[in-house]
Amino acid sequence: MGQNHNHDHFVIPFKTLMNVCLWLCFYTVLTVVTAKVPVIHHALGPLAPLVAFGIAAAKAYLVMAHFMGLKYDTKSNRIIFASGFAFLGLLFIIVFIDIFTRVLQTNTL
């Protein structure tokens, strides 16, 4: 293929893909158990949403790293995708600071 002998496409091993799928299924079961088994859900209390989103973040990492192949991709592509999340974080922070520091005016005088 011309002059590209130095650049071979990385083939993600079959075993890696299967393992990632099994881990994703495991995490899905885990998130359902922590939310729907009453004993566990009550034990977690206010931490329950944090646990749910923590598990979602772990699943997201597996999908991005192995299925989307960012782990085997160029550094610039990793930076590009991370920049999306960085600006999303900025949107979260700025909007939350605005909404939750508003002073309600009940009297116009």
């Binding site: 590209n4 083939v11 729907k36 989103f53 999908v63 299925f67 192949g69 590009i80 999306g84 999303l88």
Partner: protein, 219 residues
Amino acid sequence: MSTDNHVTTAGKHHHAHHFKDAWHEFISAKEGIWLFMVTEILMFGGLFVGYFIYHMKYPEMFAEGASFLDWRMGAFNTFVLIGSSLTMALGIHYIQVGKNKAASWALITTLACGAIFMVVKYFEYTHKIHLGLLPGKFFAYPEAVSQNLAMYFGFYFCMTGLHGTHVLIGMALITWVLIRNMRGEFDSHYFTPVEGVGIFWHIVDLIWIFLFPLLYLVG
């Protein structure tokens, strides 16, 4: 030198003339896909920010809205999408190792999973439409406790509707690369469209990974 983007002769792809070589063409196309993925993250991200703000303002109303959702359907669809992501990744894997027929079957399985996801979505939507659990002025559920319950279903239909649209577009794109694969247009050196469609399909899975706990479990 041809000015066509892709000059295809007997199943062999030649890179476009404005690229140095095939690798240059591949990494340029892929970088474009990743830039597109950033816009996807920001589009869905805006909806997530809105959801979090109103969830904090009206927690009881969101809990009431979420009680109409069946987490079993959401969990089932999560497994379906994880499976479809696996078969999509396997499709690319098989093309790379020269097993194009296996790749076609992997892509067909991915399409089937997308269809199953949409059928489950259809049952969920008809249930809510039937009860009158709809956004804004279309809301017509008489037993609602919260006055602004329509807002929950505004978020629900916008977020899952936009996601479902992505599933449908993804299915159309997979059909396109499936046909091209069956025509023998891809090999271990050239499979750029499959790679790009694959990344798009995985982001559909990625967004559902966050939508599922947000709508079905935490609410």
